[in-house]
Amino acid sequence: MDTTITTYTRIRRQGILSNDQLFYEHNGEAATFAGDAYKHLQLSYPKFHKMDLLCKAGLLATETALKDHASFQSLDMSRVAIVLANRASSLETDRQHQRSISDKSNYFPSPAVFVYTLPNIVIGEIAIKYKITGENAFFVCEHFDAALLHDYAETLLKSEHTDAVLAGWTDVDQGLTDTLIYLVERSTDSNKNTNFKPHSFETINQLYTL
């Protein structure tokens, strides 16, 4: 079975690179990156503003990757899987929740923060936005692991229940975001043209080093 990466977005050093095009470059402070990128994308999705940075980064990357990818709309969303990984889990938001309970004289744990203290919430946010209901997996790894992402996506695509896998890495730690989101589909005559990339360990590593 041939499989192809049909669209991708890389977010790194405050730049958004999508399908070999620099889509957005942020010149302001790191803290305003997600909000400014949202405006640049002309997104209208009020839930975005409630999200933590991990979810915002995952959603911005997914939106950029999918918005001009016409064939995505023709997929059966119950047969699309989401497989993500990172290093810091949800620690950025964990620290925020911890600060809210550390001082008993200034104690304010909030459900709106606590709900983001799980890394797979970014899968949930992407699933809600695009109505994707297939398989889920969130791995936490020491380093970007192209082999793991590749092999797990291949396993799912070989099963009878999955037609496409939205996969990648989205890490937020100490205010820095490091995100790669891509879509893997079974190869067809139309998606095998030169714009698309074979789904391989090497391609995934190449995209990550962009």
Partner: protein, 377 residues
């Protein structure tokens, strides 16, 4: 064929191995009670592992103080499975999947002399376990909310099928911490009394702490004396709400439908997620009814353990495997009268039965759901 072996372990308030745990569950013991933590003036109703039990566990561990609570319990749990199965920790065909929601989250606060604070990072924590155990392969951490443990077992099957390794120990663990207790309290999700899954008077969850491990293998000689086939499993997302279950049970239904194949014999019972929150249990009952499982005995084990988060899927699978081989339906503790609208049959008494398979399900924050089928081999 992939086996869920009979080499497993549970460390919980009910004991230090799976047999102690099963005996306690079988006799209807629940350790859930009010516990006063140093960080709060008010007690929490939880399943807390007593210091005396921890002391019994650590009596044979050198330098126990250099491990965190979760590391210590995890090392003991995994070592028990290695010892029972006879697999060498250094076996290159052995993988470890660690499933957790929060890992060493207690390291975020306060001083921990002699413990590297970077072990709050899950991969650093997992690598520490690898070094302590002498494993060859880098452990894989799965953090997928409350389905983590069950998803880890489903992944173990997939990794063995793709020949990534031949044997996988799946270990799930989470401890009680101010971090999780304060968070679930802010959600108003905590029950002030022992939880009552699926009951008309349920008022929420109790948190619990546990570590549980099981060997999943393709090698029949390592399946143990109680052989069980891990038939298949699946996950699915509700795509509905990040902290509330779907009203329709769509995601759980999809996971069940991909796990139960038309024409196969229906499972003998369902080990449900059953957290005892009003919405979760209602959603599960609707999904089970829509899946046509209206006459199947159902239990939740949360009444014995509370919600053990990343450990729950492993722990509840282990108890269910033991119940399967002992031909026993385990009572859904805390259940008195039906409080869900879906047509399902709760197990109201621990009793003998004829059982050849069971379905394990789980659901969690982020809209995730999982299901897996286990069959006597």
């Amino acid at each position: 064929m992939i086996f869920a072996s009979s080499y497993h372990n549970i460390i919980s308030p009910l004991g230090l191995n799976s047999h102690e745990n099963y005996e306690a569950v079988h006799s209807g013991t629940s350790p859930i009670k009010q516990h006063l933590f140093s960080f709060s003036a008010d007690p929490f109703c939880v399943a807390h592992i007593d210091d005396s039990l921890i002391a019994r566990a650590t009596s044979c561990v050198k330098h126990a103080e250099k491990h965190t609570r979760l590391e210590l319990l995890s090392l003991l749990s995994i070592q028990d499975v290695l010892q029972q199965s006879g697999i060498n920790a250094g076996d290159k065909d052995l993988g470890l999947i660690y499933t957790t929601t929060k890992g060493n989250i207690d390291l975020l606060e306060g001083d921990h002399p002699g413990i590297d604070p970077n072990r709050v990072y899950l991969p650093v924590f997992a690598n520490y376990l690898k070094q302590q155990l002498g494993l060859v392969n880098i452990p894989l951490v799965v953090s997928n909310a409350c389905i983590s443990g069950l998803l880890g077992i489903i992944m173990a099957q997939r990794f063995i099928e793709q020949k990534r390794c031949r044997h996988v120990i799946v270990c799930g663990g989470d401890i009680l911490s101010e971090f999780t207790l304060s968070g679930f309290k802010s959600f108003n999700a905590l029950s002030p009394e022992p939880c009552k899954p699926f009951d008309a008077n349920r008022t929420g969850i109790n948190l619990g702490e546990a570590v549980s491990s099981i060997l999943i293998t393709a090698d029949e000689t390592l399946a143990g004396h109680e052989k069980t086939q891990l038939v298949r499993g699946a996950s699915a997302n509700d795509a509905n709400h990040i902290s509330g279950p779907s009203r329709t049970g769509d995601g759980l239904l999809q996971a069940i439908q991909q796990t139960l194949v038309a024409g196969e014999t229906l499972p003998g019972f369902i080990s449900a997620h059953g957290t005892a929150t009003p919405y979760n249990d209602e959603m599960e009952s609707i999904a089970f009814e829509r899946a046509g499982l209206t006459t199947m005995p159902v239990n939740s084990l949360k009444g014995y353990y509370g919600h053990t988060l990343g450990a729950a899927g492993v722990l509840e699978t282990v108890i269910s495997l033991m119940a399967l081989h002992r031909q026993t339906f385990i009572k859904s503790a805390g259940y008195e009268s039906k409080g869900v609208s879906g047509q399902i049959q709760l197990i109201d008494k621990t009793s003998p039965g004829t059982i050849s398979s069971f379905l394990k399900t789980a659901s969690g924050f982020g809209g995730c759901n999982g299901a897996a089928l286990f069959m006597k081999a």
